[in-house]
Each structure stands twice: as C-alpha cells, then as structure tokens.
Symmetry: C2
Subunit: 339 residues, 2 copies
C-alpha cells in the first residue's frame, strides 16, 4: 500500500497529493529504509537503461566499436534532443554503419522545447534521433551488429540483444526470468517489472559492484562513471538527472524512468534507492528523491542545499508569480535489520 509522498499546495490549501513507495537498500539487497511497499512490482522503464547498456559494455562490443564514455552515457540516456545529444548519436550511428532509419524507437519532439522550436523555425525535420531513447537504440543496434544478429529485429523480446538484457536484469535484480513482468516501453523495447527493492539493489551495485564477477564489476563501473561524467548527456539542460548528478559529481548516479520511477546509486556507500510515484507523475518523484537523500543522511548537507529548487519546487503562474509549492511530507521508516 502506497504512502503519502508529496503535497501540492496552492494558496492556503493542499490542492493535490501524490502517493508512492520507496526502497533504500545496499548491494546485498538488505532493506535500510522504506516507505509504503518496497516490494511493489513496477516497470523500471528508462531507469533500466544502465542495465540495458551492460551487455554492450561487458561483451566487448563497446570497445570493438571504439565507443567513448560520452557515447556510453548516451546509451543510458533519456536525453532532451538537444544539439549535443543529436550530434553524438548521429556520429555513433554513422560509425556503426546505421542511419536514423534503423532506429525503431519512433519519432517524438525533443523534450527540450527550445530545441523543438529551433527545428521548426529552421524547417528542420524531427527524426528518430531526437527521440529521448535514441542513444539506447543505437547501443542495441551496436550490440546486434557485434553479435551478428539481425539488426531489424532488435525490439523483439526473443532477439539475442533483448535476451541478453533480460538475463542481466534477472541477475542484477536477483529475480528469476520467469518472475519478471514484461511489457512494452514507449520506445518499443521490452520493459521489465521487478520489485522496487530489487531495482534499488541493482543501482546499489552500479554504485559499488558487489556479488558480481570482476568482469561485470568493471563494466558496471565504466557505465556508472560514464553517466556521472556526462550528466548533461544522460538528460539535458534543466533536467533533474543532470542537476542531481551535477550537484555531487562522481558520488551520485541518478536516472529517471517514465511513470514516476527514479533510481539513485550512492557511490560512497554502495547504496541504491528507488522511488515509484503511484500515479506516475515525475513532478513528485524528484522532490521525493532529494528528501530521501536528506533523511538517510548519506549525502553532505551542501549537496541537499544545491538541490533545493528540486526539493521544494515552486509552482509559478504564467506571469511568473509564485502560487504554490510541492512539499515532500513523508518520513522514511528505518528498517529494523538495516544500517
């Protein structure tokens, strides 16, 4: 049963409320703190991207194609379709011998409205490369090529690329393949449903690999370092992932997923956390992540300070006047066998 996460205030009243669930665990999966139901099964959505990139890195495919850390960060990105993203994904595709026509993620307008407006003003086309998942799809094409598998079929759960990803999700989350709920993501690839605490455990392991082979540990660290080194490529200008990782460089790995999922790996502690907003709205996951970091005491106070705008977001009207706020109002429960 989800618990109250965030109040949305306007004037003198609470106008709306968000409920959700939170799990904070270590790399062995031990629950440290929680809210609501830490065992709630939810799709990782785009928070699965570091796991989806792992076969690419640990197989040697990334090295075989001379992929840079910036490109690996883009393979884990839900990017805003800005020039910095589009240029790099285009270059990677070209180097792999693919074009935007090979991407099967579909087309949507760039998340960053200024980027979209610029395209329209200049009469430039919106392509699959502007899709926030284009880097992930480029990585899947690279993996298909490396495996000698048909690149046209990479969306299919039975394709070797997706089977390798499914195995990684199963191993990192320690959930048998048969128990993983499978759906289809907004970009057409399979999505994987696992308990929140298991997703948090996977992030704890990306932060500090434990319980995995040394080869896998190395590949996981490379992904984590790449994402933390290029937070602007993982998301974009004025995006929470970029702000979060930029507030404590090299110490925090953060990744959003659709429908109110957010995962963080804390490098210094080998701890992972996962927030799921029951109603799927990310406006509540972001303040909840910062509040969780505050309550666990696992990051210095000045980091929380730098995240203040995301911690208590202001609601402004179209004149720019402050009319309300989002306020996290939960109290994490410390696990009796935890910390």
């Amino acid at each position: 049963m989800s618990d109250l996460l965030v109040h949305v205030t306007r004037g003198s009243i609470v106008e709306s409320r968000h409920h959700g669930d939170i799990a904070v665990v270590n790399g062995e999966g031990k629950l440290l703190w929680s809210l609501g139901d830490p065992e709630r099964v939810t799709y990782a959505r785009s928070a699965a991207k570091p796991m989806q990139a792992l076969p690419l890195v640990e197989s040697g495919a990334a090295d075989a194609f001379d992929m840079t850390d910036a490109e690996i960060a883009l393979c884990c990105a839900s990017h805003s379709g800005e020039e910095m993203h589009v240029e790099r994904v285009s270059a990677l595709l070209a180097r792999l011998g693919f074009t935007d026509a090979d991407l099967q993620c579909g087309v949507h307008a760039p998340y960053r409205s200024q980027a979209y407006e610029q395209l329209l003003r200049t009469g430039s086309p919106v392509t699959a490369i502007h899709n926030n998942c284009s880097g992930k799809h480029a990585g899947m094409l690279a993996m298909a090529k490396f495996l000698g598998a048909d690149p046209a079929g990479y969306l299919d759960l039975n394709h070797p690329v997706q089977q390798r990803i499914l195995a990684v999700v199963s191993e990192l989350c320690e959930v048998p393949v048969a128990d993983i709920a499978v759906g289809v993501d907004g970009c057409g690839v399979p999505v994987f449903g696992v308990p929140l605490a298991r997703l948090a455990m996977a992030y704890a392991r990306f932060a500090r690999p434990v319980g995995v082979s040394s080869e896998r540990a190395e590949a996981m660290s490379r992904i984590t370092q790449a994402m933390m080194r290029y937070p602007e490529l993982v998301a974009g200008t004025d995006r929470f992932c970029t702000t979060l990782m930029g507030a404590y460089p090299g110490h925090l790995l953060g990744k959003t997923g659709a429908e109110g999922v957010y995962c963080v790996g804390l490098v210094d502690h080998g701890v992972g956390l996962c927030v799921k907003v029951d109603d799927g709205n990310s406006r509540a996951s972001e303040p909840s992540v910062v509040e969780t970091l505050l309550q666990t005491g696992l990051v210095p106070a000045d980091v929380i300070e730098r995240l203040q705008a995301a911690h208590h977001p202001a609601t402004k009207n179209h004149q720019g006047t402050l009319v309300g706020r989002l306020e996290p109002i939960f109290q994490l429960v410390k696990s009796s066998d935890g910390a």
Copy 2:
C-alpha cells in the same frame, strides 16, 4: 479520504494508479452518488469559468457589447489556441477597445501542438491571445469596462470584477465568502476552493437553474446553451470537453479544470457531477467522468458508446502500438437519501 479511480495498465501489470473523489448532486445540493470524500475542498480552477462569466451576462454587459453566444462560450473556455479561438478573441478585444497587451493572463504556447508548430514555422508570435484563458480575461476586461472600473487591476481579488465573481461563487455553491479558500490560478486570477459537492451543485444549477432569481436563471441558461452550442470553442480539436458535449449535443455541459478537476451538468436531470483526481492528472478525470455517467444511468447507452475512446483510453508507444490502457475501476456509492 480519496478512493481508487483508475488503473493504468501496461502489459500484464498495473503500472500506476489514480485516486480521487466524486460527487453527483442535484440542484438543491442533495447527494445522489459519491466516491471517496464528496465534501473534499478543492479549487474549481477552470471549471469555475461558467461562474466567472455569469456577472458578465447577468449584468447586461454582454448585451451592451453585443457579445455573441460564440464569444460567451469563449469566455468560459480553456481553449487550444487554434485559429478559430484566436480570431474570435482578437475580434472581441478589438470591439471592446482593448488589445492583447491588456490581457494579464500571461503567454503560453497553444495547447494544440499543430497550432504552435504553425506559428513557429511561419515566424508568427505567440501572444496572450493564445493563452487558453484569453477568452475569460477578455470577458473580465469587458466587465471592468461596463462597470467603469480600472481595467488594469482586474486580476486583484478586491477589484469589482473579482468581487462580483466571488459573490456568484458563494451564492451558486452556497458557501459563505469567508469559507471560500482563495488562491491564484495559472493565469493570475483568483481561484476559489469549495467542497466538491457544492461545485457539482453549481453545475446542476447551470444545467437546470433552481434556487436562483429568474434573471439569474436566464443568464445561466444562456451560458450553458452557448457552451453546448460551441463545444469546439470551449476546448478545441481532439479535446475531451469538445468530445463530451459533442457526444450528446444540448444535453451535457462539460468543463475541465486544472489539477484533475472535471464538472458536468446534465440538462435533462438537473444534476451535476464533479470529479477531482487526487494527484491532479486529467488523464484519470476523463475516463472517470464517462464511468460516472455510465454508472448513474443518466445518459443513454449510445452516448457512452460514442465516448468509448475517452472511457478506456489506449496507451500507445511512439510506433503507435497499443501497450496498455487506462481503466476506471471504481463503484459509485448511491446515497441513501438520494435519487
């Protein structure tokens, strides 16, 4: 305490959930059906627009300025900024002797993306007239002019226009002015917080005026008829208000409000309903409205049939493939002293 409204499914699991509250009442305020807490206080947001337009019509201001029913519909609109909206609001402003510079609603991109894209492609400016509330603000300027009040101060709660609106809200909802929560809306005007059941009662009265003077009844009927006659002006292409009123022309008055508020007046029965989604997401209010209409049995089956796409909305990915659905899952409670 809110109750479960809608399941958001994807693949085999329920990915997200929306809670909320519903009140169905008659024009005397008798509760007929409910879900959760029908006495929950919430801001009406844009669902207040018919009430905000009432002083304009009943004072004689609308007639003094030769306002058409289309223009009255636009005064009650949260429009999509399409050509049909922008041209009419521009013409009304010009006739009143105002320009877009007099509108204090602020500027935002047209709700309809195609309308916005067209502006960008042609290098045309986005102005306050594209703001979804521009008709309401034009109406407030008309009222200020009619009253001989300063048009520059019309956003202020103490301005004669807002004081008349506050009195109307108090009278139609039968809530003393002192008990009405006041905040600021996204477009800068005061918003009024009243219990859901009282907001539903106001809509029951717009559908079939009772408990009001014959002059007020006439003005209310004129507003209701104007909105039902021009559903495309009240919202726009592919918008729920337009679809709902178009599915049963002349029988249903429907108006959305921000943060998951939706109000309906049923002309044939003199009944009003109000849905508030706890988390503020309108994706859940729309199926809940159709489900409420179905469960009350107050509209013919073929109307529900025509609203099927809004009743069980499909979630499609960027390739257009069906990946999930929104499913209303509540059961209204029939009031013991009701119907």
